[in-house]
């Protein structure tokens, strides 16, 4: 198990638990009372920790190395998944995956950012930072879904679109912009979930949809707390402050009316019980898609555009129209 800095009080409790269990096994003694006591302690400590997480702590949880990624959910939630590769122009991006899935008899196209589960895979997946061809592959799959009236589920988990020379040469900005434009008018439902990190244009590039949900310990922001700190505080040391200022948690996003809801995670985060998390997500997807598929396509598109048109906070002042 990996413990984050604010989870340290739990580490010693889990160690104690292991030790007592070992003693019980070795000495063939009944330790059930003691085990129960420690387990209760763990539960209580978890409650205190996880119910009072700061913005930065949620960012840390969203990046937990054991956190489930897109392909894990796909595997748990679907049958007969066929991964599709390539944007048909340049290459196959490993940081965005997608394919044809079947969720309890319903055909669904799933797209999502993908991070690696170990050092080698993290590099292979480019840390979940997509290049333009990733966004273009996602768009190709969405257009395919549209042709066959199949809904799209998008799983968002990225520290941002990749900032590189080739990414710029191949039009990172254009790829993201094109997706936003096409997703706004896609004739089939688009259902989006932030399952980890939702950083900036890299996230919204597959994140425009009819409904947007966030898992409890995830974040969504215009910029990562680190980069925000480096630009506005001119130092990397203020990431905690930046995380607070950005108001990037699921609760914040829901209160702003930017997302449609929050999906509860198992106590301690999605990684503590990934299978249970996948079950919760699957149930949610099924319910949402049933509702969305029921709507008239044009009405769905109109609502989608209206939903985004409403987002914005500003004042209006009295002014005469000036003419030069």
């Amino acid at each position: 198990m990996v413990f984050l800095d604010f989870e340290k009080p739990l580490e010693s409790l889990f160690e104690k638990l292991d030790k007592i269990k070992q003693v019980g096994e070795d000495g063939d003694i009944d330790v059930s009372e003691m085990v129960k006591e420690i387990e209760t302690k763990i539960k209580n400590t978890q409650k205190t920790i996880y119910e009072n997480l700061t913005g930065w702590q949620k960012v840390q949880l969203s990046r937990h190395p054991e956190r489930p990624y897109s392909l894990y959910y796909v595997e748990e939630m679907t049958k007969a998944f066929t991964e599709l590769h390539g944007d048909r122009t340049f290459k196959d991006d490993k940081a965005i995956v997608g394919g044809l899935a079947n969720i309890d008899g319903m055909s669904v196209v799933i797209i999502g950012h993908q991070k690696g589960v170990n050092t080698k895979m993290r590099q292979f997946r480019n840390f979940g930072m997509a290049n333009p061809e990733g966004y273009r592959k996602a768009l190709r799959l969405m257009k395919l879904a549209e042709r066959f009236n199949i809904p799209v589920v998008s799983l968002i988990d990225t520290p941002g679109a990749f900032p590189g020379i080739e990414a710029e040469e191949r039009g990172q900005a254009e790829a993201i912009a094109r997706n936003l434009f096409e997703m706004a008018q896609l004739k089939v439902p688009i259902l989006c979930y932030v399952i980890g990190e939702g950083a900036s244009g890299g996230a919204i590039g597959i994140g425009l949809g009819d409904r947007i949900y966030m898992l409890e310990n995830t974040w969504y922001s215009v910029i990562s707390p680190e980069s925000c700190s480096s630009i506005l505080w001119r130092s990397w040391d203020h990431k905690e402050k930046a995380a607070e200022a950005l108001k990037l948690t699921a609760d914040d996003m829901y209160n702003f009316g930017i997302i449609d809801g929050i999906i509860k995670e198992p106590l301690g985060g999605a990684h503590t019980e990934p299978a249970a998390m996948a079950k919760i997500l699957k149930k949610h997807i099924k319910k949402e898609l049933a509702e969305l598929m029921d709507m008239n396509p044009q009405k769905r598109i109109d609502q989608r555009i209206k939903k985004y048109s409403k987002i914005g906070e500003f004042d209006k002042v009295k002014i005469k129209v000036s003419q030069a």
Partner: protein, 286 residues
């Protein structure tokens, strides 16, 4: 006195807007270091008479340059940004807004105008870099959204002159969502068969490039403008290599297929007139 201040003090008049272009008599080119007078500079479309460097200018400089006889109407100027997240970094967002209003004569980082070019109607939304780096917040998104509604209502083509460092961090997710908002609204313009010209000027980066600025029916630019998704400094820090000469400049984007052409500022008005004439006669023929 800043326009916003005059406004607050109730002495709003139909004044000329202060220009982003330099005040005073002399202009020293930051590209070639030659000195010219500001009169010469202005007569040369705010380009250095020696090296043709395109000096950064403001929204209303473009409006006056492009519209027939420099005449236009300002639209949606009553929208102003507010610090709804109670944001403070080294400075508070409110302070930044106050400073921007004092320093400039515009109401926000984008201004919208309606006028005629060669007698043909055109709505232009143009940015001011002097207003918090031309950053995109809720006001920019809403003004573009309203400008698109206006275009559809009056049947006018739309042009955006971008000049922005990207999303305004002090509005957090709200600024990010303006990417989706503006792109979604542009689909309505397309459905109504109204052309959209995206004119990218130095600099255009971040969320602005990754949304409406790359979505023009025609994308074009001034020479030598920095245009990209990630800023050069971020890329350099990520890949730990020097960037190639001319990287992310307009000429580079034409070469890689993301801009249709580059136009010298002295030819800008003519080019827009040509485009409008082209699309107007096309729509008449159909």
């Amino acid at each position: 006195m800043g326009w916003f201040k005059r406004l607050k003090e109730g002495i709003q008049t139909a004044t000329q807007n202060k220009k982003e272009a330099p005040d005073g008599l002399w202009f020293k080119c930051k590209s070639c270091n030659e000195t010219s007078t500001n009169k010469e500079l202005k007569e040369n479309f705010f380009k250095c008479p020696f090296c043709n460097y395109h000096v950064r200018i403001g929204s209303h400089d473009y409006f006056e340059m492009i519209y027939d006889n420099g005449k236009f109407v300002d639209l949606f100027n009553n929208l102003v940004s507010k610090d709804f997240l109670d944001w403070t970094d080294l400075k508070s967002y409110s302070d930044r807004l106050t400073t921007a209003h004092e320093k400039t004569d515009v109401m926000d980082s984008i201004s919208v105008a309606y006028g005629k070019v060669n007698k043909m109607p055109l709505v232009i939304a143009a940015m001011d870099f002097s207003f918090i780096g031309g950053s995109m917040g809720s006001v920019m998104g809403e003004k573009i959204s309203m400008a698109i509604d206006y275009c559809i209502e009056v049947g006018a083509p739309f042009m955006i002159i971008s000049k922005s460092g990207g999303a305004r961090m002090m509005e957090s997710a709200f600024s990010l969502m303006q990417m989706a908002k503006t792109s979604a609204k542009l689909t309505l313009l397309a459905k109504n068969k109204l052309p959209y010209f995206s004119f990218l000027t130095d600099p255009t980066t971040g969320g602005v490039t990754a949304s409406f600025a790359m979505l023009g029916d025609i994308n074009f630019s001034e020479p030598g403008a920095l245009i990209g998704f990630a800023g050069p400094r971020v890329i350099k820090e990520t890949i730990k290599k020097d960037l190639p000469e001319g990287f992310q400049r307009s000429e580079f984007l034409v070469e890689h297929g993301f801009l249709d052409f580059i136009v010298d500022r002295k030819d800008l008005t003519n080019k827009i007139g040509e485009l409008l004439a082209f699309f107007n006669s096309a729509s008449k023929a159909s």
